[in-house]
Amino acid sequence: MPGTIKGRVWKYGDGVNTDVIYPGKYTYKNLTNEEMASHALEDLDPDFAKNVKKGDIIVAGKNFGMGSSREQAVTSLKYTGISAIIAKSFSRIYFRNAINQGIPAIESSDAVDAIENGETIEIDFKNGVIITAKGNFKFPPFPDKMLEILEAGGLVNYTRQKLGKK
């Protein structure tokens, strides 16, 4: 996980669920990473997958990722190149899946209210600050266990390290 990231914002509302992020009809189709990315958010914003750029940041309201445990709801977004997700809150399994894929999932209601769709924001992980046009917003540090997973680049690498495989 880099110390600081900077990216353009795609902003959405409350309750963005796993079916609109990655529809169930694709979940057992063994798609490639690129194909998965091309369907990301297609039932909410069909323009997203066409126009998203590496490093972009998703910003959303309450309960982001509610619904299914399907990990493709995280990986399809990851393969679009997004660098982080900021939400007012996350559904529990989605939050775990994001961390396990090495995608920082940050909760900050104040930052979400302040951030405008399309603006470029900065996230300073070392100091736990989101830097926006309307001001800076602190977020609490990740618990040690999650930080270890994020720093390993996700749960696959973390587990490999634990098993003594480099």
């Binding site: 529809p23 057992y28 299914s68 445990s69 559904s91 529990r92 098993l163 495989k165």
Partner: protein
Amino acid sequence: MGETFVQKVFSKKVGKKVVHGEIVVLEPDYVMSHDNAAPISKIFDKFGVEKVKYPERIVIILDHTVPAPTEVEASNHKLIREFVKKQGITNFYDINNGICHQVLSEKGYALPSKIILGSDSHTTTYGAFGAFSAGIGRTEVASIWATGELWMKVPEVHKFIIKGKLPEGVFAKDVALHIIGKIGADGATYKAVEFTGEVAENFTIASRMVLSNMAAEMGAKAGYFLPDEKTLEYVKDIAKSDYEVLTSDPDAEYEKIVEFDVSDLTPQIAKPHTVDNVSPINEVLGTKIHQGLIGTCTNGRLEDLEIAAKILKGRKVKSGVRCLVFAASMQEFIKALKKGIFETLAESGCIIMNPGCGPCLGAHEGVLAPGEVAISTANRNFKGRMGSREAFIYLASPATVAASVIEGEITDPGKYLL
């Protein structure tokens, strides 16, 4: 200060006293996956270990796309059959068994005080048996296969007291929808919910499974009932391993206690496109429907099929309306078959399908076209969930779905139960 069931289960597992909010590393008793065992096995391959750590703790049940609708799913199933053979995983249930949550329960893995994790959000269902069970992601399951362990937070507990007397024609599903409508889809996020009160206690095991299943739609990590005589009666002859009966102390600490009096409850409906968009049935009466779905892990057990048959007996599914019936498992299917329930339902015009998830997640077996409206006993109604993103899904009890397919519009089942 006493302890909650959650504290006791986690303390027993990690061998020391835990507090709510603490992060622990533990070895779950069982880890469940379904058709997603295929991609999970590919993640497992990345770890560089030959064998899973505890084959006896792994349960795999094929249910999401059964029988395989295309070559892709068929190849996934084949991969899984080869994987379980190679790994010596004997707790494998092929496509003729039913939906993972029902099968895992009736095969005796869902037991009091067990910690069960699964790569499916409705893994919360086993809380009906006094287990602590929670959904996790695919990579996490792969990691447990390799290491046997996972980190978890000991959740705070919300106690939901369901009291009063449930009126005729109102069921566990209506109670679940009512609660979700009141607290919202994130009303219990990260929390464990303890269902208690006289109504919860009087529920059958099948009805308790409805509430525990739908705890996922409250955002909850787990949704459990403290084990009682009904629980022990259910598990006594089928238990796959030893278990302990753990309950909450009377002076245990809850983050929140909420009372729901259901004495005046009417049938409830979750409207498109979120499960917490709930209203009493009178606000949506007369909404035209194209398809009814009775079944799924939420409402595909004998008592659900029985009430549907009671309503549909001697009546017809309205012309132009389809009604699909999926038993939750082959065991429930055979029970219903022997009781003549499928004869009644087939005569009324229902289509009797094989036990499995069916169109609930939009994969196959009766998905919706643009502009179509379905009423379903399943647990989710998100946009695109059952196929087209331009379709509309209403969620209801089996009785409400049965009454609605007769009239071709959303109908209160009350008059058919007199």
